[in-house]
Symmetry: C2
Subunit: 131 residues, 2 copies
């Protein structure tokens, strides 16, 4: 399978796939006579894994770790569990941050009843000293 096909199959741009290969996230593909990359089902599975982990918010470094772990079938599952737990904590923190941000934005909208910037509470509230 050529890079374009793999790209469509995984919803990844061809350039991103080449980037992953350069970064050592994906193993290099075989080459055809005309030097085109030629991917196997193993590559498809690997890229699927990578994309899914990325979608779940894992960093490239974390994906590297996950890949290394999943290669060594005899490792304790605990290590993977730990990575997931860390990621979960980060995500939960982000949700909290965004929630208070959302509340502030909502407040700003509600307070805007003037119709000229001169009296606009939104601009005022942005100009307030930082907490």
């Amino acid at each position: 399978m050529r890079i374009g096909e793999l790209a469509i199959a995984t919803g990844t741009k061809a350039e991103t796939i080449r980037y992953y290969e350069r970064e050592g996230i994906l193993p290099a593909a075989d080459r055809t006579d005309s030097n085109y990359r030629d991917y196997s089902d193993n590559h498809l599975a690997a890229l699927t894994f990578v994309r899914r982990a990325r979608q779940l918010g894992f960093s490239m470094a974390q994906v590297r770790e996950l890949l290394a772990l999943s290669d060594r079938v005899d490792n304790p599952c605990q290590v993977v569990d730990e990575l997931v737990r860390e990621q979960l904590e980060e995500v939960e923190q982000k949700i909290l941050d965004l929630s208070s941000l959302r509340d502030e934005l909502r407040l700003m909208l509600r307070s805007c009843e003037a119709n000229r910037i001169g009296e606009c509470r939104i601009v005022e509230s942005l100009a307030r000293p930082l907490r």
Copy 2:
């Protein structure tokens, strides 16, 4: 007031302040005889505004817009309102995305009862085809 003072007053690194000046987000400061930047209270207010907007998740481009709007006191407040509304929508969408992500991570953790990677559901669930 010198750059270090302004940095402390706003919780911004001096390098970031110089960066904002380069980017035209902040007006250039006056210079002392020895070529040090010399900031006024207006600069303090402007930087406070910028930092607050950035904390609220506005992009640099949006901050530029907000600054331009807040300069023209006779513009309808509606334009600012619209920007805030857009930002709010983005934030709400991000919260939704992160929430489903959180749910998936929680599921992964719960399903991991094996203790060897060979049977690890987490690794399995990462290898599943992309939705």
